[in-house]
Amino acid sequence: MDRRESMKSLLIGTMAGGVLLQGCAPESADTSAMPVSKPEDKGKYGRTIEEKARDEKLLGSQGFSETELATIAILCDLILPSTDSAGGALDASVPEFIDFIAKDIPSHELPIKGGLMWLESRSNNTFGLPFVKLTDVQRKSLLDEIAYSETAAPEVSPGVAFFSRMRNLTLTGYYTTKMGIEDLGYKGNQPNVWDGVPQEVLDEHGMAYDKAWLAKCVDQSKREDIAEWDDQGNLLT
């Protein structure tokens, strides 16, 4: 009960801070009941005490070596380079993510360490140089051997598995950042009022809402009217 009371004091947005309904415009939702985040809440994402301790321990522990991270960074950059309109994997700190996730999910660690060694050996055997010393063209020629699973030679299959893992982690690491999400075009995770698929999208897909179905759907201009029914369960409001 105490905790609950104390929470109330945090709901300082009630009335003031929240995005209030503008008339009955259906595109805005009443978020006045959402707790307004305070400076001291920055960085919190709902961890239990045990989870928080685990995060801190992992973040403070040694992951890949500097040498390993240097190669990981080169690979990330080749997998998702920057473009004219969007930053690349390095701008999105993907190597740091990979460093963390291999500590968090240890089943990644050995395949990545071993894969890096495999790549180093392949590089030395092919060009007589470690991977980091190769030119961009040389690096790409090595990647071309292992980046296409259907056509790759059987003798490079360990490299194919390694590169597939690096590509997966780079994609995940990138598209879970602000930069990646913007580039992808995900537009949610914010209060809004869903009122169906935009008309131009419906048209593009040859779809339409049928009348009978729409009659069962919410009239967003009445969303704030308290629900009342007759005895048969017909909504009156």
Binding site: M1, R3, M7, L11, A29, D30, A33, Y45, G46, T48, L59, L78, L80, P81, T83, F97, F100, D104, I105, A147, Y148, S149, S164, R167, N168, T170, L171, T172, G173, Y175, T176, G180, I181, L184, G185, Y186, K187, G188, N189, Q190, N192, W194, V197, V201, E204, M207, Y209, W213, K216, C217, V218, R223, E224, D225, I226, A227, W229, G233, L235, T237
Partner: protein, 571 residues
């Protein structure tokens, strides 16, 4: 170790704070009774900034939401999961039952799918139709008034459909379908599969001034801070606390129900996780709502001279007839949705449309039905996004693999073009599927743990096979490309392990016959009149419906009965 006695005696001690416990607390407290809620986990409030995960971005988690510490990912509200450190469970030979536990205020209601389906008239009397398992001792007409009350108190959206075994209720209006759901509707209709708006306990319209109206972030699994979804804490327990007669005991693990020389319950003993001491709480009645298996475990561990085989278990039925929904899934790619325009289509936390059971089981090679759930759309990326992306090209004659700018194009090309369907069906409750106490293993609190024995039968395998055949028929109607292999007989047709759908019920079944059931039609122990069970344990069979709405309705009904019986001094 000395047991610390409570001075106060409560009218009711409720063990567990999920759907059943929350509802009981609300009804009993509103009736003026003094109530203790004993919850094994911590307090939880989705508005607490230390606990909330709603509207967080994936990058706010260093693992981007991966499921390393929480089974459904970092942002899922349920603490606990398939395995809990220090609290094992064991398996009998050949059994693989997966048990999802969430120890926290509100339990699993904090993250559940909110699919809120009434059982229909036929669901309560299945034995009459197929000769398998047993009828419930009550029928739809007994529960209907309580379903009505639950609809109005908690709120559920849906639509009036007049389908005989899918009773309508007091619905809030449904959200409009998303794009992939429109594709599904079209294809399902062509395949002769019924499709209607889904029924979820999410407020698409204002229900009262205490709870907010859905703002469509698709994150009900994170527990809603404006209380627009049904979670037991925000919708039942916090309102119940307003009476001032509810005391919460969090981080307290109930060991057993204690009894006196007459065999009547006197309260519960519990371990306080914070000081590791054992306490005894006195109550006139004990209401078990710890979840079907946990309540069975408490009964089985409550051995005394009067109840040597555990409480309410002289007939050896406690733990028997454990059953979960069947479940299997398939994903597919809709070529027409490749390279689609993006917009915010989060919608509510879950499906906007679904297919209720549409066939007559008499014409099929399995006895009971299933429903189909639909998922997909332009979701928020989290850990796992992009895995296997480059390989997806094999389905559309693109170049498989690669790197560089091509990958960006692939990410946009496939984003939101995949969707999936899940079959969720009714299994046959069987005495041979059960949990019992493992005599050799205790948890970290020193309490003997459960051992599971569970095997699917051909009833479930044939049903799962039918689900996959139906899925492919529907894909075919929208020219979709199924992903992966269709699971065959060697894989039990893709049936998930029992327990996996997290609808486990039946361990303390209801019945009129004292030799084959544990509780009566008021969910009162046959052998101990002041002990009640209000979780999924008393379910005789579970329909192809998600159990929560029925747990809530039955808990309300039982709680009214408790008030009545206490008033009449019958217990």
């Amino acid at each position: 170790m000395q047991i610390i006695e409570s001075r106060e005696q409560f009218d009711a001690i409720i063990v567990g704070s999920g759907a059943g416990g929350g509802m009981s607390a609300k009804v009993l407290a509103d009736a003026g009774l003094s109530v203790a809620i004993v919850e094994a986990g911590p307090h939880f409030d989705p508005t607490n900034p230390d606990q909330m995960t709603q509207l967080k971005w994936p990058w706010e988690s260093p693992r981007r939401g991966a499921s390393t510490t929480r089974s459904f990912g970092d942002f899922d509200a349920a603490y606990g999961g398939w395995e809990i450190d220090g609290e094992p469970y064991t398996q009998g030979e050949g059994s693989q039952f997966d048990w999802f536990r969430s120890h926290m205020l509100g339990g699993r209601t904090n993250h559940w799918g909110r699919i809120s389906l009434r059982f229909g008239p036929r669901d309560f009397k299945r034995r009459d139709q197929d000769g398998l398992s047993d009828n419930w001792p009550i029928g739809y007409e007994d529960v209907a008034p309580y379903y009505d009350k639950v609809d109005k108190l908690i709120g559920v959206f849906g639509s009036k459909e007049n389908i005989p075994n899918e009773p309508d209720g007091f619905f809030l209006p449904a959200p409009k379908p998303r794009l992939h759901e429109l594709y599904y509707i079209k294809a399902a209709r062509k395949a002769g599969v019924t499709v209607i708006p889904s029924r979820l306990s999410i407020l698409t319209k204002r229900l009262n001034n205490e709870r907010g109206v859905c703002f469509y972030c698709r994150q009900c699994s994170r527990s809603c801070a404006i209380k627009a979804d049904f979670s037991s804490g925000t919708s039942l327990i916090f309102p119940a606390q307003k009476s001032g007669s509810v005391q919460l005991f969090t981080n307290c693990v109930v060991k057993e129900v204690t009894t006196n020389a007459e065999g009547k319950a006197t309260g519960v003993s519990y371990i306080n996780k914070d000081d590791l001491k054992e306490y005894h709480l006195k109550g006139r009645t004990v209401v078990l709502a710890a979840s079907a298996c946990s309540s069975a475990r408490i009964l089985l561990n409550s051995k005394s001279a009067q109840h040597p085989n555990g409480l309410g278990n002289s007939n050896d039925i406690v733990g028997k007839y454990l059953h979960d929904s069947t479940g299997t899934d398939r994903a597919f790619l809709v070529p027409e949705m490749l390279n689609r325009k993006t917009y915010n289509e989060d919608g509510v936390g879950g499906l906007h449309v679904y297919s209720p059971w549409w066939l007559d089981s008499k014409k099929l090679d399995f006895p009971r039905g299933y429903h189909i759930e639909i998922w997909g759309g332009l979701g928020m990326p989290s850990y796992g996004f992009g895995f296997g992306l480059a390989e997806m090209n094999k389905y559309v004659s693109g170049v498989v693999g690669g790197y560089g700018d091509k990958l960006r194009d692939d990410a946009r090309k496939f984003y939101g073009a995949m969707m999936g369907v899940s079959g969720r069906g009714e299994s046959i409750p069987m005495k041979s599927n059960y949990c019992e106490i493992d005599p050799e293993v205790v948890d970290q609190w020193g309490i003997p743990v459960l051992k599971f024995h569970y095997q699917w039968s051909d009833h479930e395998r044939n049903q799962s096979k039918h689900m996959h055949d139906t899925f492919e028929e529907i894909f075919d109607k929208m020219d979709a490309i199924p992903l992966g292999e269709k699971p065959g007989a060697d894989k039990d047709y893709g049936l998930h392990n029992p327990g996996r759908i997290i609808h486990e019920v039946g361990t303390t079944r209801m019945g009129d016959d004292l030799t084959t059931s544990v509780v009566n039609k008021y969910q009162q122990l046959h052998e101990v009149p002041n002990v009640f069970i209000v979780d999924g344990g008393p379910f005789v069979s579970q329909a192809d419906k998600n159990p929560t709405w029925t747990i809530l309705a039955l808990s309300w009904r039982t709680s009214e009965y408790i008030v009545d019986q206490l008033t009449k001094k019958n217990i």
